[in-house]
């Protein structure tokens, strides 16, 4: 089955979308502000003779002219973390301040959770959780290499997450970068669609909704919850948002996104969604020459 063709009705220039999905992605690294300034990180690359190009929308992202970004002095020192360009978006949208408590519900292998810590100057608290113990060791390795000292790591199911180990009862912000069908990673993993099935879609959508629901409940009134996926499937995106808007005390809010994007869709295969899902953003690979992504921001309470 040609999975991507199901999205043809959603995408203006489907030919450009398809062509972009077939091109490999450039190597992108995020400069880790906990250990280096962007200036020093760039100087280190220049000393090594590695060409780079900054991403316009995000001064800490550099496109490197190498296939081995991990084999650089900057990577060894934890100044860089290899991270797909578009995946740097949700931590920016979540935007924690120093002193705030943030929950990364599905945090492994840690690119976004460590970015949250860096955005808060490593002076907040990031509770990074993942259900999978194997992936959790990758998260811990990355957090330590990047020098993140403000992180607490837990190994639980996010759907019924308990704050019992902690001496507080709500987070200021949460990031739900949930497991998904991953179609948006096709440029990175050419076999990303091999396991795709409608059955998985239905199953993962109910997991996604339960995780988002728990994040809303675990975040204080006035706090923010960011929901993101790397799939184009409305079942895993707008339909999940629609499900929690009905039953949880929250609303979708507008947010700035320096990347070119399309609004969330309000109708799919005969199902209508709450009109506010248009505030979410769909990012297709051909718009900014990145992977595919979906991102929404919710405000809790009120």
């Amino acid at each position: 089955m040609d999975v991507l063709s199901r999205y043809e009705p959603l995408i203006d220039d489907f030919g450009a979308f398809r062509a972009a999905c077939e091109r490999p992605l450039p190597s992108v690294v995020r400069v880790n502000g906990i250990k280096a300034t962007p200036e020093r990180a760039r100087t280190a690359l220049e000393e090594e003779g590695i060409d780079y190009e900054p991403c316009e929308w995000h001064p800490r992202l550099l496109r490197l002219d190498t296939d081995h970004p991990g084999r650089t002095w900057g990577a060894f020192h934890g100044w860089f973390h290899g991270q797909e360009e578009v995946s740097a978006l949700p931590a920016r949208v979540c935007d924690p301040e120093p002193g705030e408590r943030v929950w990364a519900a599905c945090a492994a292998p840690g690119g976004k959770a460590t970015q949250l810590a860096a955005r808060a100057d490593d002076a907040g608290l990031v509770v990074a959780n993942d259900r999978n113990l194997g992936r959790l060791s990758a998260l811990r390795f990355n957090a330590e290499r990047l020098g993140v000292t403000s992180m607490a790591v837990t190994n639980r199911d996010a759907r019924n997450y308990s704050l019992a180990p902690f001496d507080f009862d709500a987070f200021d912000r949460s990031l739900c970068d949930v497991p998904c069908s991953c179609e948006g990673t096709i440029r990175k993993n050419p076999d990303a669609l091999d396991q795709w099935s409608v059955g998985y879609l239905d199953e993962i959508a109910s997991t996604q909704e339960a995780i988002l629901r728990r994040a809303i409940q675990a975040t204080r009134s006035g706090g923010a919850v960011v929901y993101s996926t790397c799939t184009f499937a409305p079942e895993e995106n707008e339909a999940v948002l629609d499900g929690v808007l009905d039953s949880e005390n929250c609303r979708l809010v507008d947010f700035n996104c320096a990347l070119d994007s399309r609004p969330g869709i309000t109708e799919w295969e005969g199902e209508r969604f709450d009109p506010s899902v248009e505030r979410a953003k769909r990012i297709y690979p051909h718009l900014n020459d990145t992977g595919g992504f979906f991102c929404a921001k919710l405000e809790v309470g009120g």
């Binding site: 100087t43 000393e47 060894f76 020192h77 959790l136 811990r140 330590e144 020098g147 000292t149 902690f166």
Partner: protein
């Protein structure tokens, strides 16, 4: 490995416990104190205790210490808290690679700065003959990168040889 015989059997490997401030407040025999940890970094490497003012120190099992930026109720049963920081099981305390990379910039003593080629061998995990007039034992090993000294990790200096302590998973061929 068996537990040491100095009462550490009480040390619970399933949860993080905050280090006592001083020996007088110590409830578990042999547990390192905050005072001793700050003294170690200051005496051995010249890292002033103000660098750690916002940090709490924790132990989870077998005398491995962790540094966490912030305060949280002790004990706490979670997977990790901050970064691994210092191993205190042996007579000579040993900083971790990650602690040295994070805090080693503040060091003014027992820092061995390598040439680029020697740094390359060090991060690949090789031992090498190096001349060094300072103390033996665990040194902060650094090189110059992008206009300043930058710590690479920990080396054990003995009898004219620098033994790389970079853990296998962090070694790189650069």
């Amino acid at each position: 490995m068996s537990e040491p015989s100095d009462g550490l059997a009480e040390n619970d490997g399933t949860q993080f416990a905050r280090l006592p401030a001083t020996a007088a407040e110590r409830e578990i025999a042999g547990r390192a104190t905050r005072e001793a940890v700050l003294e170690f970094w200051d005496e051995r490497y010249g890292i002033d205790s103000t660098v750690f003012a916002d940090y709490t120190f924790w132990e989870k099992g077998s005398r491995k210490l962790w540094a966490f930026r912030g305060e949280i109720d002790s004990p706490i049963a979670i997977e990790s808290l901050g970064i691994t920081f210092l191993r205190t099981r042996q007579e000579h305390w040993k900083p971790t690679t990650d602690a040295v990379q994070r805090f080693g910039r503040h060091a003014s003593r027992n820092v061995l700065t390598l040439s680029r080629e020697a740094a390359r061998r060090f991060v690949a995990g090789e031992d090498q003959e190096i001349e060094w007039d300072g103390d033996w034992g665990y040194l902060i090993v650094a090189h110059d990168l992008a206009g300043a000294r930058e710590p690479l990790g920990v080396g054990l200096y003995l009898h004219g040889e620098l033994r790389s302590q970079i853990p296998k998973g962090r070694r790189r061929e650069l």
